[in-house]
Symmetry: C2
Subunit: 432 residues, 2 copies
């Protein structure tokens, strides 16, 4: 290791938004530090973005400009293609394929592309002896891909859990702390520029679901199977739910859980009640948290900023420096061709559920609901009717442990009665 | 990466205590999983420990036995020497040197050896193109060496903090939760077998100090300088301190903090008051927590089991699999020969302090103490006298922000008065 410096690692960076500009800044600012740590200089050869003229707060004159990411990906003077364009298809995917075809390694922050096409892309790269790394795609600045792929490599992974969408956690904690409705906070977040162009990717749980699907693949040695995930967003969480949960000592989080069972891979991304005093319950604002459970390591909890220029660029740099140092890992921790296909399995582990109902305000309504639950074999831990709203009676029920399918059947049967004024809200209570 | 399996990585394991036996168990139990992840089989060739006959709960018949770790380290059929003997000198160091001399990589869990001899050992290994890795030496199962060396490699590290001695945290939280004195909990821990043969390594802050010194070296690119660390143990923390701190919304933790300043490396391992609601404040029992602050990543918090068979063996396996995969990193993240020497700098950042005094119970005693503080330019945030004990008056003071040196001068001056019934206890209040 006292050998003279190796030749520079030459980067081509496609996409100069917040993260891309952040990476350029680090390469410029920490030139000597990066050289010392990587054992070779890390240089930018060429860049590409949609609009050439825009001021991005960093000097780009020293780099060649390409009008298309595909052209950038094919340059002979680029060793490593850094894909920071985003989007599951389109230019990001085309350029990544071009980079692989022209014999380059790839670093990407693109969770959507990998969740849907990661298997094919990784197989293509690995067939040519190249690597695709994606630390920045999951949980921003938290080195969770590394912790799981490398730090826990000696473990059979039991379970992966996480709050991995900052926007959702911001909305939920802001509702809690300011007593505002979902709609009010959503409008506020929109005004502050916190929302993506398509906010359903965030609030619908899809973005966080992409991230969980990638972690599950590493954890269980299975092909990425995003389609098998049960996904539910936070759009139906009301300030009432937040308040009732808080009254009982809980917080509502958009929580991802993945675990392997004999029936296949259980993976779900959905609102859950977690104890207010637990690390997950205390997670405020846009912070992310991932919990990794190994058979030897026990529970490892990682917390940090899940988005933003610095944290995401830090994660991109981690992959770049790994490759500069000569670390060459398979995208999912073992060769993509060796990953096992897996089917999705409906979550079957019983759990208590929180159930919020709006009943028609007439005698016997509550009795009908209680009867339906009894018929489904679901016993009630707590039930309360908490003040009338015009003609409907809001009712809150916490069940004893039951399965999601039993609960869904009961909710289905409730719709068959004449006492529901609105569709019930059912939220799993997770022991974390 | 779809190439056929590479030849096995052959391990020689020296030391078959809890951790050594744990590593053997994982290698045996997860043979296929490890092969899939490493891209080659991981095999044990030979082992060594003090007593051959002892039952360690794992079959060892398939491995060659060496009576000395040095003989094990020199075997031709061992690629990687796994040092799990412990101790800063003696057989662990001799065997590690033998392994390097005979051209082997080394994985060790030995924080004491590396804190005192890491520079020389890493230089020797790197001069021959070999690596020494030590994930298990710091914070047990938490992949913190990896997170810092690799995950945050694109960052200038601002600060490293951590609660990294499970025994101390167990004692402090047990005192808090059971209302027991330090002496009672210490005796209890001893009876339960939680203490090392020399418990001052734990309760004196030395073990945690070793760990912090190693992290500081990686973080700041400096030679390990354990001698420069300010170390204070938990032996003088009383149940009174715990209670008073709790009353004010704090917990007492043995906290390590390392940061680079213009004057040199500030590093200290000492009892601190931290907010009870902070992640560090909520850390219970033997759990460890490390906080890494990078200029781009922001604050990354890692939490997990800091000791025990499974977690520590998991960390050892992480290093072994890295090496099996072909990842070859310098011990401290850059070549040891390039690490800068650094001097220790007294912590100069002002902080509020908690000060517990036992005053002689006579008129004017408190006035004299207040005058001493005023003369030292230290202003008082809160002061209270909280009930008499025979002839002494316990007094609690929380200062506004001041420096450690100003406080030490004031305490020195207090000793010059005639009102102290016992030496004051001063504990820094850390904003975390």
């Amino acid at each position: 290791m006292n050998t003279p410096l190796r030749p520079p690692l030459r980067l081509g960076i496609a996409g100069l938004g917040t993260v891309g500009a952040g990476v350029v800044k680090i390469v410029q600012k920490h030139r000597d530090l990066l050289t010392a740590r990587a054992g070779r200089p890390i240089e930018i050869t060429a860049v590409s973005a949609r609009s050439k003229g825009r001021d991005r707060g960093v000097p780009l004159d020293a780099y060649a400009w390409e009008d298309t990411p595909e052209a950038l990906a094919s340059r002979d003077d680029v060793d490593l293609f850094v894909e920071l364009i985003g989007g599951e298809e389109g230019p990001a995917k085309a350029a990544t394929e071009a980079a692989i075809a022209s014999g380059k390694d790839v670093v990407t922050a693109n969770k959507a592309m990998l969740a849907l096409h990661g298997q094919a892309l990784a197989e293509a790269a690995e067939a040519k002896g190249h690597v695709i790394r994606f630390e920045a795609a999951v949980a921003g600045g938290i080195p969770v891909v590394k912790a799981l792929t490398e730090g826990l490599a000696g473990n059979e992974v039991i379970r992966v859990m996480g709050v991995m969408n900052g926007t959702c956690n911001y909305i939920l904690t802001r509702m809690q702390n300011a007593g505002l409705s979902y709609q009010d906070v959503f409008a506020e977040a929109d005004k502050l520029g916190y929302l993506e162009a398509d906010p359903t990717l965030d609030v619908g749980g899809i973005d966080a679901g992409h991230k969980l699907a990638l972690l599950a693949s590493i954890a269980f040695g299975t092909r990425v199977n995003f389609a098998a995930m049960e996904i539910e967003g936070i759009e139906r969480i009301s300030i009432d739910d937040i308040r009732q949960a808080a009254d009982m000592g809980f917080r509502i989080k958009l929580l991802g859980v993945a675990q392997m069972t004999g029936r296949g891979l259980e993976s779900r991304m959905s609102p859950c009640l977690v104890p207010a005093t637990s690390p997950l319950g205390q997670l405020e604002n846009a912070t992310n948290m991932v919990v990794l459970e190994g058979d030897a390591s026990g529970q490892i909890v990682l917390r940090g900023a899940g988005a933003g220029e610095g944290p995401t660029a830090s994660a991109v740099m981690s992959d770049i420096i790994d490759i500069a140092r000569g670390t060459r890992l398979s995208t999912f921790g073992q060769p993509a061709a060796a990953l096992r296909p897996t089917q999705g399995a409906r979550a079957s582990a019983p759990a208590p559920f929180y159930l919020r109902l709006a009943l028609v305000d007439k005698p016997g309504a509550l009795a009908k609901i209680a009867a339906v639950l009894g018929d489904a074999g679901i016993s009630i831990d707590r039930m309360r009717q908490y003040g009338h709203e015009a003609t409907t009676a809001p009712v809150l029920i916490v069940t004893h442990k039951t399965t999601r399918s039993a609960l869904d059947e009961a909710v289905e049967a409730m719709h068959g009665t004449d006492v529901l004024a609105a569709a019930p809200v059912a939220i799993r209570i997770e022991e974390v």
